[in-house]
Symmetry: C2
Subunit: 556 residues, 2 copies
Amino acid sequence: MAQKPSIPKGTRDFSPAEVAKRNYISSKMKHHFEVFGFQPIETPSFENSETLMGKYGEEGDRLIFKILNSGDYLEKFNRILLQIIHKLVNDYQKIYIDLSNDKNRPSFIEHIQAIENDYDTYVARLNKELFNNEDELTIVSFKDILFLVKRHCYDTHDKVNVFINKTKEEIEQLVITIFSDFFISLKGKHMVAYISEKALRYDLTVPFARYVVQHQNEIEFPFKRYQIQPVWRADRPQKGRFREFYQCDADVVGSTSLWQEVELVQLYDAVFTDLGLGGTTIKINNRKILSGIAEVIGAKDKLIDFTVALDKLDKIGEDGVKKEMLEKGISATALEKVQPLFQFTGTVAEKIEKLNQLLATSVEGLKGVEELRFICETLEKLGLQTALIDLDVTLARGLNYYTGAIFEVVAPQVVMGSIGGGGRYDDLTGIFGLKNMSGVGISFGLDRIYLVLEELGLFPDTVSATTKALFINYGNHESLYAMEAIFKLRRAGIKVELYPDAAKIAKQFQYADKRGIPFAVIAGLSELERMEFGLKNLQTGEQVKLNFESLKKALS
Amino acid sequence: MAQKPSIPKGTRDFSPAEVAKRNYISSKMKHHFEVFGFQPIETPSFENSETLMGKYGEEGDRLIFKILNSGDYLEKFNRILLQIIHKLVNDYQKIYIDLSNDKNRPSFIEHIQAIENDYDTYVARLNKELFNNEDELTIVSFKDILFLVKRHCYDTHDKVNVFINKTKEEIEQLVITIFSDFFISLKGKHMVAYISEKALRYDLTVPFARYVVQHQNEIEFPFKRYQIQPVWRADRPQKGRFREFYQCDADVVGSTSLWQEVELVQLYDAVFTDLGLGGTTIKINNRKILSGIAEVIGAKDKLIDFTVALDKLDKIGEDGVKKEMLEKGISATALEKVQPLFQFTGTVAEKIEKLNQLLATSVEGLKGVEELRFICETLEKLGLQTALIDLDVTLARGLNYYTGAIFEVVAPQVVMGSIGGGGRYDDLTGIFGLKNMSGVGISFGLDRIYLVLEELGLFPDTVSATTKALFINYGNHESLYAMEAIFKLRRAGIKVELYPDAAKIAKQFQYADKRGIPFAVIAGLSELERMEFGLKNLQTGEQVKLNFESLKKALS
C-alpha cells in the first residue's frame, strides 16, 4: 500500500531546526517561571468528557475533540437499538394495519392522544416492558417518535387528521418517513454519550482547576504552577491557527494579593527581555473598571458594544465612534458622562486620575481603579527592564470569566495579534466544587512568539547549532581509529559524527556541507600511522594536522 | 455542578516533584542524543487513520485511540442511512406482502436467486437508482441484507424454503429480525470509517517512517533523528502500564552500516552511565541468527516455540526445555543439531564461535554471526563505560519486523522488565512507498527508568530543588523593599519568592517549611530602615543580618 503520506489539516511536523528554535523559547520561559517560583505540573492529554464539556460555552464544546470509546464502542448502543428496532417494526405493522383501513384511523388518533394524556405512565410501562427501567434512552427515543408521529400524522394546529384524503401509498410513505426521521434524530442526539467518554484537552486552565481540586490535600496554597503542553481545538485551520498547539501558562491560585499581578508583569518583562524582544507593550485593564463604565453609562448590556466601538478611536475618530455607539443604542447623555474616554491620553498615572473622576459614582469601578493604581505605581517604583505598560480601557478579552486585572501583550515592530494574555478569575475551581479559590495567571503564545523572533531575526545562530565535525569514513580499519577519538570527544560533550559508510569522499564532504557541519576530520591511513588528524574548515577550506589533544581543543 | 473530579483510567497527573525527575531523565537523554549527532523532530499527536491502521497487526489496530470527526460527525452516515431505511421499509412491505401469500413465495425465491445469479448487475442498478453510483456503503449493505434474507428466509444448504409451515406471525418475526440484524451489522462494520478519520499516535516509529517519506526531499540521508513524545494505547491499564506514556526513540535511516549498531550500544552506555545506573546489561541478538537456527532445526514455523522454550533454560533446565520443545513438535534430530545452545555459556567471543560452527550450513545464519562479530569485537576494542554486553540467542522481541541486530537493556539490581530495546529493520519506509531505506534504532523506557532510579535512590537531591528563599511579607510598605531585592536576585537567576499576603508570620514560616524552602528572608521595618536583610536558615534556625550583596552571595 503506497499511499502518499500526509498529516491531518491544522497539524504540523516540526523539523530539527524548528524544534531547536521552539525549545529555545520554551527553555527561556521555564527558566524564568522557575526563578519566579512557579512549579511545573503535567496533566493527561485527554480528560473525562464531563470535566471539559460545558466549560467553554456552546461554541467551545463543539470544538472539543472527542475520543471514540475503545473496544467495541457500539456494543451498548447496538444492544439498545436492537430492542428499539423490534419495537418500531412491530409498531409500524400496527400503525400500517390501523391506518390502511379508514375506520381504524380514529382509534389510532385516540391511541396517540391517550399516550399524550398520560405520557409518564406510558413511558414507564414501555421501560418496564422493554428495558426493566434500566435505560434512559428509550424515554427520549419514544418522546421523539411520538413527536414525529404527531408531526407527520396529524396537524397539531387544528387537530385535523391529515390522513383523511390520503391514499394508502401516501400514508405508507408518511410512516416510512416517521421511522427514517426517528433514526436520524435518535442517532444524532443521543449517540455521542454512548460512544465517547473522553476528550482531548482544550486548554490548560480547566485541567489545572481539575488538578487543584483533585489534589487539594497535597498542595500548599498559594500554589504557583506553570504548564507547557499541547492543546487541541477542532477550529477551522487558517494562517497562524492550528488544531494542535502549545499553551504556556503560569498561574497562582489561593491568594488575592495584588503583588501577584505585579510579579506576572515582571515575568512577562523578564521572558521577553531575555528573548531579546525589547519594547513589548503590556496592556492592562481591570474587569471592575469595565463594570464601572457600564454602570456610568447605565447600560450593562451595552458594555461589549461600547468597548468594541471605543477600540476604533484611532481608526474612525471620536465622531465615528460616537456615531456607532448611538446606533448601538447607547444614549447621548451616557456618552457625555464618559466624555473623558474620548481623549484618553497621557501617562498611565494621568489615565488613572481620569478614571478616578469618571467612575466616582461606581463603587466597583473605583475598586478597579485602586487595584490598577497599586499595580501600576508599584511597577513604576520597581521599574521594568524593557517592557512598556499601557492602560487600555478597551481591553476586554475573556470578559466572561475575568473578575479583576486583565493583561494582553503586543509585540514591537511587527504586526501580529497578541503574543500573550491573562488575568484574574475569582472562582477558578468553583466548577469542581472548591469554592473561594481566587486565581490569576498569564499565558504565552509560543507559535506567535516564534513568528515574531523569526521575522525580527532574533534567534541566535547557536540555537540550531548542529554537529561540530564529521569524521570521514575511509573503511573499517581507519574508522576504528576515528571512533576511538569520537568516543573520547563525545565524553567531553563535543558533538561529532562518523559518516557511517565508506562512501566516495566527495559525497561525504557534500553531506557535511548540506548538514551545515562546519568541520570535517580526516582520519585516513597516513593520519592513523602518524597518530594525528586532519581538521578541515569547510567554510574557509583551510586544513591543519593535529594530534588528539589539539583536535579536542580546536573543536571545544 | 460539583462533580468530584478524576482522570481517565490509565492516565496520570504529574506533580512538580515528578515532572522535575522526569525532566532530569529526558534532559540527559537529549544531551547524549545530540552529542551523538541525532536531531530532534516532533510529529502531530494524531495522524490520519490510514497512516496508523494496519501497521501494528489486528491487536494493535484495536488498541489505537480513534478520534470522532468534529462538527456533525454523523451527517454523512445519516444521509446514507436515511436512504437505506426508505429502501428497507419498502422492501419490508414487498417481502411482507409477497410472503404472506403462499403463491407469492416462489416468485420471492426467484427474485432472491435472480439477484444472486447476477449480483453485480443488481448492485450496480441499486447504486445508480439510489446513489448515482457515488457510495460504496450501499454495495456492502445490500450484500449484508441479501445474506441475511437468505440466512433467515431459506436454507441455503438444500434450498428448502423455510417459510413453508410458518405462520404469518412467524414470518413477520423473521423479517423483523432481518432488519434488526442488518442495522447492527451495518453499524458495527461500516460506521467507524464514516465517523472517525483521525487517531492518536500509537508509537513513534510509524509516524517517523511517515515523516521520512513525506519530507524525503528536505532530508539529508543518512538521517539521525530522536523523538521524545507521548504515545497512546487503549490497553487494559495495570501496574506500570499506562494508556498515555512517553517514548524516547533514536533512529538512523538511510544506511546499512554496522557502525550505527556500535554507536547505539555506546549511546545506551553513555545515557545509563550518566544517570548513575552502572552495570546495565545490553542483550544483543540478530534476526538472521534466529532464521539460521530455524533453518538448522528445519522448522521455520517452530522458531517462536523454540526460543520461548530455550529462554527457560535456567528455570527448568536442559531436560525440561527439550521436553517442551519435543511437545511443541520439534524433532529429536533437530535438537541434536543445536545441542551447543543448551550449554551456551562463556564469553561473547566464545558464544560467537559456537554459533559459527552451529550455523555452518545456513548462509543467512552465518551472515548474522558476522554482523554480531563485528559489533561485539568493535565494542570490545572501543570499550564501554559501565554497561555490559550479553549475547542472548533467545532475544526475539519484535521478531516480525526486525531484520538484523536486536537489542534489549536490563537494569542492574532491581527486578524490572527491559528498560530499553531496539533493532534493525531493513524496510522502514516501504509501507509508505519509499523502498530500500534501512533503519536501525533504539528506544528508552522513561517510566521504567524512572522507577529504577527511584528504587535505587539515584535521583540527585538537586533535581527537585525548589525556591531558595521565601521573603516574609510584612505589608505593602515593607514588601516593596523586599520586592526590590527579589527583582535583582531573580535577574541573577536566584529562585526567590515573596509570600503574597501579609499573613501571620508563623503561617508564612510554616508555608516555607512545607514547601521545603531552605531559607526565609526577613525584611521588616527595622531591616528596611537599616537597609539590611535577616537571613534565617530554616533547618538550623540560625539567623544573620546581611546587606544586599552578602545576601545575594549567601543565596547564590
